[in-house]
């Protein structure tokens, strides 16, 4: 009889397996993939906006991500880690390469060129995962790393192809995504300007709004959330507290500006928050393990998202928040341990409430003075009167500093806008020029507030639009009487 003396118990084990957990995540994603196929493929096809290739394009797009990640991992394992035969098979079975690729496909705009998608997927696997030592060792969520690379390097390319809007949406809605829309309108907005362009909030909930390939449907994300929580796969506290915190903070911000409950609901249903909270923030490898730390992680994610949405020029915030919190997981874990002591827990709760109150108050105040005083980003440098023309030299703050223009007004109409000086990023500004935005401004000068901005160069085009509006207002005040 062999010596079994030193076997280590327990000798009764659960049926849990890492692979089973990953399988459940894939199952939870199936409805989301089907919905994406419906929204981005079937609907445009039904309206004869795309051909048969366009019909299947979403499926192909989604499939490319996982295929490429698997290939990259395979190559890395075979040629850099020198794994062979069974070893290689075993490695591939336990690296779960499919998931980051699939996630990345789902969180990119549908008009991302395939080459850019492949680039992003390679970055996700190599920079996001392999350099840390593969599955289980990465600090950041690989899919989000991939998306970060794509949107920072190829935003203009993607925007020029149509950005987040699928062919049907380009045809019918022709507005940017709800959150980039938020950053272009004056003030905090109203139901008519924020929600109505996309129908109603029900559309937001079901996901029939512009957005990345697979992240728009809050309903299906919720279904996935319940499924995964029931199967005990995800850390449910993170999404609950994440979405809850965003809702409460935006509710306060809306309340400070006299907006109803629809406003926080609009905020949580926009910008892939549900998808990010349920699938990306709960990524086991990059999220905290203890219960208190998971709650804290969710709350901090919520606060960060609100901060990014209101105080930075980047309207979305989910990706940045999650990557930031990934980096801080070990800190959150430590604070979580402190929370076990009652007195320290009270202090931590108090600190969090103060931070939340401060953020809500500051964000709410951003829009408080709107309409009463003039735009502080606008400046009249010089006014010349030549015959029947008035020539304004004005500047409006853009992305890289003031954009200075000469605006010529004749018979109460703008007849010419000439940009004298600007400091905008050439790529973005190029888009503005490409789309003849200045010509559009002159053409649509009676309806400027209705005019769309250039998607992909939102800030520069908004600045130009505001410049035109402010100059006209200035002219009216001085000459109309």
């Amino acid at each position: 009889m062999k010596d079994y003396h030193n076997l280590i118990g327990p000798f009764q084990k659960s049926k849990n397996k890492t692979s089973t957990m990953m399988k459940h995540v894939l199952i939870a994603l199936i409805p989301i993939i089907i919905f994406s196929f419906y929204k981005n493929g079937i609907v445009p096809y039904q309206h004869h906006l795309v051909d048969i290739w366009g019909l299947w394009y979403p499926i192909i797009f989604i499939a490319i991500g996982p295929i490429v990640t698997c290939l990259v991992e395979l190559i890395a394992a075979r040629f850099f880690l020198h794994k062979k035969n069974n070893d290689l098979k075993d490695y591939m079975q336990h690296s779960y390469a499919i998931l980051p690729g699939l996630f990345l496909s789902l969180i990119l705009p549908i008009h991302t060129p395939i080459s850019v998608l492949i680039f992003g997927v390679c970055m996700a696997t190599i920079i996001g995962k392999l350099v840390y030592g593969g599955f289980g060792n990465n600090i950041f969520n690989p899919a989000l790393i991939g998306r970060l690379f794509v949107i920072t390097t190829y935003a203009t390319v993607i925007a020029s192809k149509g950005g987040y809007l699928n062919s049907y949406e380009l045809d019918t809605i022709s507005k940017a995504t709800p959150l980039s829309n938020v950053s272009t309108i004056e003030g905090i907005g109203s139901y008519e300007t924020l929600v109505s362009p996309y129908g109603n909030l029900w559309n937001f909930f079901t996901g029939m709004i512009p957005g990345a390939v697979g992240e728009t449907s809050a309903l299906l994300c919720l279904v996935a959330f319940f499924y995964l929580t029931f199967q005990k796969v995800i850390k449910w506290r993170i999404p609950v507290f994440y979405i809850g915190t965003v809702w409460i903070l935006t509710m306060l911000i809306g309340w400070l500006n006299g907006l109803g409950i629809w406003y926080p609901t609009f905020q949580i249903l926009s910008g892939g928050l549900f998808f990010g909270a349920i699938f990306m923030a709960t990524d086991p490898v990059t999220s905290p393990v203890s219960k208190n730390a998971q709650i804290l992680d969710g709350i901090f994610l919520g606060i960060l998202t609100v901060v990014f949405r209101y105080f930075t020029s980047y309207p979305e915030g989910v990706l940045t928040s999650i990557l930031t919190m990934n980096m801080l997981v070990f800190v959150v874990e430590k604070i979580g341990l402190q929370c076990k002591q009652k007195d320290k827990r009270l202090v931590i709760i108090a600190v969090i409430l103060v931070i939340m109150g401060f953020v809500a108050y500051q964000a709410g105040r951003l829009y408080q003075n709107h309409g009463e005083s003039k735009d502080s980003n606008f400046e009249v440098i010089n006014v010349k009167k030549v015959e029947n023309q008035v020539i304004y030299t004005v500047s409006q703050k853009g992305n890289g500093g003031p954009i200075t223009c000469e605006v010529t007004i004749q018979n109460d109409k703008i007849i010419k806008i000439e940009v004298i000086d600007h400091n905008e990023t050439p790529n973005y500004y190029g888009l503005v020029e490409n789309q003849h935005y200045i010509e559009q401004l002159i053409k649509e000068q009676d309806n400027l507030s209705e005019l769309d901005t250039v998607s992909g160069a939102t800030i520069s085009s908004t600045a130009l639009k505001k410049l035109a509006i402010n100059t006209l207002q200035e002219y009216e005040e001085s000459y109309e009487k």
Partner: protein
């Protein structure tokens, strides 16, 4: 709710009972707890009576060991102890006469003992915690503070084991009588018998007899592992939490088998020389609860009840599959604190995969510590200090639940070792 439901496999040996009282030889391992420094009171060729003291520990607790048969000491031999090591043992050849030293009269009302007599009786009878801890029972009662609640642990949460269950069903009346006597002797307000809510037979046995005892309450606890862990049990049935020992909140916890041993000591002056052992597992032909004499070799008992299905590719576990220890063979000697031998199919060693930090071990941990964080830092003494490593009860749920099949509990054990190094104070807590 703490703990989780795990499959119990108790149906294998439930409702079975047999007696094996004819061992040719008995072996008394010279060990008490982890203490092997004992005074041996007999020598080769001595004749010993049943119940005679043959050795006692030298430490301050001075625990006696008794002969469980009458017969001749034929020498000393190294035998397998249930912690997996070989221990020098006294070998006694049974003369099957069951001769007793001097016959003492049975005590009619066991509540007539005084506190001092009670403690003395328990001490002389060598009553130990029979649930597995093996801690001398009288010490629990030797307290200055008042005892408010007596908790009887009849939970037996470890899978496969049904020894307490079997005893409780048969001796419910005697157990209740003993509890009542203890309540009277120590002026304790109430007693709570904790039973798993799905142990219907045991609940029924107690309910049938409990009517006359107003101070004894039967409490059903959820079928969760490790509900029998003292700390969790006290919290579940009394709502009280304590730092180190339950007596801090006025609670004494006794295993139900221990209570019956107390009964026999009080009533018949009988030392702890018999106990029920569950012999079970997939590889045992007829899994059974067996009443055996302390000192019997389990191998004989297994032969007696019908043997094993095969004797290759098996593992013998002393205790249950969660917290038990594997043995090289089945020739282990029954001691007072060994409650079961589980013989299972040899399992394929599972490969450990990368930890993906799913946090399941944190979720299930009944001690509410963070096994995965302890695993990460198991060699770093400073980091471990904030992680409450010594709260761990080694129930093994973290290893049980781990989807990557990592033996998390072993890392926690190593962490305890790290903390213990050059710090003797840590040993106490």
């Amino acid at each position: 709710m703490k703990g989780i439901k795990i499959s119990s496999h108790k149906n294998l040996s439930e409702n079975t009972f047999t007696i094996y009282n004819k061992p040719k030889y008995i072996y008394i391992p010279l060990i008490v707890g982890t203490d092997t420094d004992l005074t041996v009171l007999v020598k080769k060729d001595d004749y010993v009576c049943k119940g005679e003291m043959v050795a006692r520990s030298k430490g301050k607790f001075s625990i006696p060991l008794h002969a469980s048969v009458s017969g001749t000491v034929i020498g000393f031999e190294d035998k397998l102890y249930h912690n997996g090591t070989m221990i020098k043992s006294i070998v006694i050849e049974n003369d099957f006469k069951e001769r007793i030293e001097e016959k003492q009269n049975n005590v009619n009302t066991i509540s007539s003992y005084s506190k001092e007599e009670f403690l003395e009786t328990l001490k002389n009878a060598g009553i130990l915690g029979m649930g597995g801890a093996g801690f001398p029972t009288y010490i629990k009662y030797e307290t200055n503070g008042p005892i408010k609640t007596l908790v009887i642990n009849a939970v037996e949460c470890e899978p496969y084991i049904t020894a307490d269950d079997s005893l409780g069903v048969q001796k419910a009346g005697e157990i209740l009588e003993t509890i009542d006597a203890i309540l009277e002797i120590f002026h304790i307000e109430k007693a709570i018998i904790a039973v798993k809510k799905n142990h219907k037979k045991l609940i029924h046995a107690f309910q049938k007899n409990i009517g006359t005892y107003v101070k004894i309450e039967l409490k059903m606890v959820p079928d969760r592992y490790p509900m029998g862990w003292e700390r969790l049990l006290v919290e579940t049935v009394t709502g009280k939490t304590y730092q180190n020992l339950p007596i801090e909140v006025g609670v004494v916890v006794n295993n139900v088998s221990t209570i019956y041993a107390i009964y026999e000591a009080l009533k018949y002056h009988k030392p702890l020389i018999e106990r029920i052992v569950t012999i079970t597992g997939d590889m045992i032909k007829h899994p059974t609860n067996v009443l055996v004499k302390v000192g019997t070799s389990i191998h004989e008992v297994i032969e007696f009840i019908g043997g094993m299905k095969r004797n290759k590719d098996i593992i013998c576990i002393a205790g249950g599959p969660m917290m038990g220890v594997t043995l090289p063979n089945d020739e282990v000697i029954v001691t007072a604190d060994m409650n079961a031998l589980v013989v299972l199919k040899q399992q394929e060693e599972e490969i450990e995969h990368t930890c993906m930090r799913c946090g399941k071990c944190v979720q299930v941990c009944p001690a509410q510590i963070e096994p995965v964080l302890i695993k990460d830092a198991y060699q770093e003494k400073e980091a471990l200090k904030t992680l409450n490593v010594n709260r761990c009860c080694e129930c093994g749920l973290c290893s049980y639940i781990c989807p990557a099949k990592i033996k998390v509990r072993e890392y926690v054990r190593k962490a305890k070792e790290t903390l213990r190094k050059d710090d003797p104070n840590e040993r106490l807590s």
